[in-house]
């Protein structure tokens, strides 16, 4: 079946908006001189965004997911291995849901 024309317009616009976001920050930063102040801003971006993503996830979930984040963070920190931490987090959530869910 043929989708109405407006659907393809909507998807083309979604694609354009998304690519402009993905490329736009990089492009715009090409016009500023990367002074230490700008570098401080850009360097702090990952931690700030990670924290925002995690906080938003946890705000929409329960104690089991909080325990999963603590497990992932703790194991990654102690073993110095990101992947082990991730598996610990997923395993903890699956086990706790199995026990209580």
């Amino acid at each position: 079946m043929n989708a109405p024309f407006e659907i393809w317009i909507a998807i083309a616009g979604m694609a354009a908006v998304t690519y402009l976001c993905r490329a736009g920050g990089f492009w715009a930063m090409g016009f500023v001189k990367l002074t230490p102040r700008w570098q401080g801003w850009l360097a702090a971006m990952p931690s700030a965004l990670f924290a925002a993503i995690l906080a938003r996830t946890l705000a929409h979930s329960g104690p089991i997911e909080v325990a999963g984040v603590v497990a992932a963070f703790g194991v990654a920190r102690i073993l110095g291995d990101d992947f082990a931490g991730m598996l610990a987090g997923i395993g903890a959530v699956a086990a706790l849901r199995g026990a209580w869910g």
Partner: protein, 237 residues
């Protein structure tokens, strides 16, 4: 992270692409799971298979696509769809800005092609990797396509299978992404001055989630937290 020599030339090698692919197996699994979920949701919302797959292939942004399904009615509110897409994806502006010191002055075509594949997970993985290795744009591209293919394939599968698939939540599969970010945060957290952006970013995101529209919370958290980095730098000088 401040004080590093940031102007080193950016490479783009096939070795980097392979390394990015290899490092992204968990992200690829996550992408497949979410692709299947999106495909099933899109089928429920009345999008046909070609439309769902085209959306995943050209937009390639799960959060925005799921959010747009909530307002996918007839007649389609096209402007609202675009605005929602922007609200959910505005965080990519910040992510791609943060790549400037690492990818410039790389080849423009490769860099802007790579940016099409930019994802939360690939970005996090690349910045983590570039702490210890010279920046290679190929790594980011490899991590991007490692998730792109399962995302589009998962959309197909989810649309065809519809509601006959079981719940991935029972196996904790919906938790791959939060677990990934928690583990990444543990690796990036090096010294006490990193704590400021984390606390302010999380706090501002939660406040925005509570008092403003939820889709802006990541951008607000990212902006507020990263500004701490500017002030931290000024105090250090």
């Amino acid at each position: 992270m401040e004080g590093q020599p940031l102007a080193r030339p950016a490479a783009f090698t096939w070795r980097g692409v392979r390394s990015g692919l290899a490092a992204s197996l968990a992200l690829a699994a996550n992408s497949a799971v979410y692709g299947i979920i999106f495909g099933a949701l899109a089928a429920q919302a009345g999008l046909d298979l070609a439309v769902s797959a085209a959306m995943s292939a050209f937009v390639y942004a799960g959060g925005a696509q799921v959010a747009c399904l909530q307002i996918w009615v007839h007649p389609l509110p096209v402007l609202a769809v675009w605005a929602t897409t922007f609200a959910v994806n505005a965080r990519y502006i910040l992510q791609s800005a943060s790549l400037r010191p690492w990818l410039a002055p790389g080849g423009a075509a490769k860099t802007y092609g790579t940016l099409f594949t930019l994802s939360d997970g690939g970005w996090a993985l690349a910045l983590r990797r570039w702490q210890s290795e010279p920046a290679d744009g190929g790594f980011l591209f490899g991590a991007g396509i490692a998730q792109y293919l399962p995302w589009v394939g998962g959309t197909f599968a989810g649309h065809v299978l519809g509601n006959s698939i079981g719940s991935p939540a029972a196996y904790g599969l919906d938790f791959i992404f939060p677990a990934f970010f928690a583990a990444m945060a543990a690796g990036l957290w090096k010294k006490r001055s990193d704590l400021g952006p984390i606390v302010v970013g999380a706090g501002a995101a939660l406040a925005a989630e509570h008092w403003i529209a939820g889709h802006w919370s990541l951008v607000i958290g990212g902006l507020a937290g990263s500004l701490v980095g500017v002030f931290a730098h000024e105090r250090a000088v």
